[in-house]
């Protein structure tokens, strides 16, 4: 069962997730080393691969606010993490869908580090507290991109359909 590896406050910005000073690094294969770089201990644990794929970052309101930098998503995708937050800023949400990073909007979510979370089709279950929280469905328009496995594959299919 996936565990919560960090529970964060409201308004986590993309500067927090991926500091601007590392923006010259762009390739998804190279960005993971800088995830939450200024949270030194957490960054070290990520790099040490202390967390299995599917582990969950829990956020508060307005997760991913700020810059449009896609590195903020690729850096988390590099560890195959999932994000469950009370609300998510528009560009971060779209970038996550485009890159195939699992993001879940869950307005009532309450969880702390170490909790066991299960993400179902429409709920998030906190097995450590025994509580269940409803998800806000992602916009239906995004389904095509998610079903294709991300925007690159989706755009490629559209290109081929054009001939």
């Amino acid at each position: 069962m996936p565990k919560v590896i960090i529970a964060l406050e409201n308004d986590i910005s993309t500067d927090d997730i991926y500091p601007g000073r590392f923006m010259a690094t762009v390739l998804p294969t190279e960005t993971p080393q800088f995830a939450f770089f200024d949270r030194t201990d957490f960054n070290a644990s990520l790099k040490a691969k202390a967390f299995p794929p599917g582990s969950v970052i829990v956020g508060g309101e307005n997760f991913g606010c700020g810059s449009s930098r896609e590195q903020a998503c690729s850096t988390l995708k590099g560890y195959d993490l999932a994000v469950v937050a009370r609300s998510i800023s528009r560009i971060f949400l779209q970038n996550s869908i485009n890159l195939g990073l699992q993001v879940v909007i869950c307005p009532g979510i309450e969880a702390t580090e170490g909790d066991d979370l299960e993400i179902t089709a429409d709920q998030v279950l906190n097995h450590s507290t025994g509580k269940a929280y409803d998800q806000v469905k992602l916009p239906a328009a995004r389904k095509g991109i998610m079903d294709a496995g991300g925007l690159i594959a989706y755009t490629r299919a559209r290109l081929l359909a054009r001939g």
Partner: protein, 428 residues
């Protein structure tokens, strides 16, 4: 049922008679802007074409703009190599709206686009920068996207799967008191709405104060609309839009201002009267942590920054120079000035503002993003405080997670440079 400005623009760009908030559309893109992160866009763009048997070809090189501004001149071999890779792509694809590291046509993307007439009312503009909201100042629907979404637009010429955003109407009335202006208005509004109050929504600006506001001020308010989470800010095109494009951007072809229907649907209306507004300060570490200046007076400041895509235009520099002329930047405080474009830099030279800044002890830098994103020119030392006319104050934003950034207007920054503490310019 009537349409808001953005609904009208999206209907037209999508070939539909009408759209409403929540509809999914695929509008044609009129302009696609990137900066140094074009290095990532190019990578994603080439990946899109892998296995298709098609050569990677952009849909229309004349509708792509690339402006180097985030790290100019390059601060590291890595950035210099990104610049080189982008130059090669620009040349190979015949992209003409390219602004390299130059002292004549260089500058910050959100100033270059209006300055060169690349944006028109009614356009759909996408940019790989969250402050792409700036171009709503010219009546365009202009929003930030990630690099992969840009790669998709370069390939297809459309923005895929766009949900028509709902619109918040902001009606601004009254006359700004002395030393209070557009920056104070937008900070006040962000404080009212909160940092996510306009998430997935558009801010559409109306009222006598907006009608009388220069394009420079409109760019500042649309620029910072994203700090309330907005997909875009927009000022419906009007006489000032046409004047700016004709007189300052040299546009000669037809300009078609799109205006909202009288019976347009808004999710919310916010009314603000600016006649009694006081200078506003966004305090660390969120842009919606906004306070009237009297609550933060006297806080010592080690670094003053005037410039950026928010407040680096000629009127901003003029207002700051008027305060600093014949005065000195306080000992123990350093002041950095970043004009928004090389053209503005040259105008400020001609007007004598650059001399005013230098004689006062400020360091005037080439136009670019400078310390605003914490990578280049002007990092903060441990536990230092900056007072800046830029648009973000997130933790770590000026390169040091222990630093603190306060955001303000150019006149507050200039008055505070002289004293070394946050100072009310109305009492200078």
């Amino acid at each position: 049922m009537g349409m808001s400005v953005v609904e009208k623009i999206l209907a037209r760009a999508s070939g539909l008679p009408a759209v409403a908030a929540g509809d999914v559309v695929e509008p044609k893109v009129d302009l696609a802007m990137s900066h140094e992160n074009a290095a990532l866009v190019i990578n994603q763009f080439q990946e899109v074409f892998q296995g298709t048997g098609q050569a990677p070809t952009v849909w229309d090189p004349s509708r792509i703009a690339i402006i180097f501004d985030h790290r100019v001149p390059a601060e590291s071999p890595k950035t210099a190599t990104n610049h080189k890779k982008i130059r090669q792509f620009v040349a190979a694809n015949g992209i003409t709206k390219f602004h390299d590291v130059r002292g004549d046509v260089g500058g910050i993307c959100h100033q270059i686009l209006p300055e060169y007439g690349y944006v028109r009312p009614g356009f759909v503009v996408v940019g790989t920068d969250s402050h792409t909201t700036s171009h709503g100042a010219l009546g365009a629907f202009s929003f930030g996207v990630g690099a992969t979404e840009m790669a998709s637009a370069w390939a297809l010429g459309i923005a895929v799967n766009i949900e028509v955003p709902a619109t918040i109407k902001v009606v601004v009335s009254g006359t700004f008191p002395p030393m209070v202006g557009p920056k104070d208005l937008i900070l006040h509004l962000i404080g009212l709405l909160t940092a996510q109050g306009a998430n997935f929504k558009v801010l559409e600006f109306h009222g006598e104060t907006i009608r009388q506001m220069s394009t420079s001020g409109r760019i500042a308010i649309c620029n910072m609309s994203v700090e309330a989470g907005a997909t875009s800010g927009i000022v419906p095109g009007d006489a000032e839009t046409v004047r700016y494009l004709r007189e300052e951007a040299g546009v000669t072809d037809a300009i078609d201002c799109v205006t909202p229907d009288a019976d347009a649907t808004y999710v919310r209306t916010v009314e603000i009267n600016v006649s009694a507004l006081v200078p506003q300060i966004a305090c660390p570490h969120m842009v919606d942590n906004v306070k009237p200046i009297d609550q933060v007076l006297g806080i010592p400041v080690q670094q003053i920054v005037i410039g950026s895509c928010t407040n680096g235009r000629l009127d901003d520099l003029a207002a700051a120079a008027d305060i600093l002329r014949g005065k000195k930047v306080a000992e123990g405080t350093r002041m950095l000035v970043f004009p928004a474009s090389s053209k503005i830099f040259a105008q400020a030279l001609d007007k004598g503002y650059i001399h005013d800044f230098m004689r006062a002890g400020a360091v005037v830098m080439n136009s670019g993003c400078g310390p605003c994103l914490g990578v280049h020119e002007g990092a903060l030392g441990d536990h230092e405080v900056a007072l800046s006319t830029t648009n973000r104050n997130f933790k770590g934003r000026m390169g040091n997670p222990t630093g603190e950034v306060y955001l303000c207007s150019p006149v507050v920054a200039a008055a505070s440079a002289i004293t070394g503490v946050i100072t009310d310019p109305r009492k200078g």
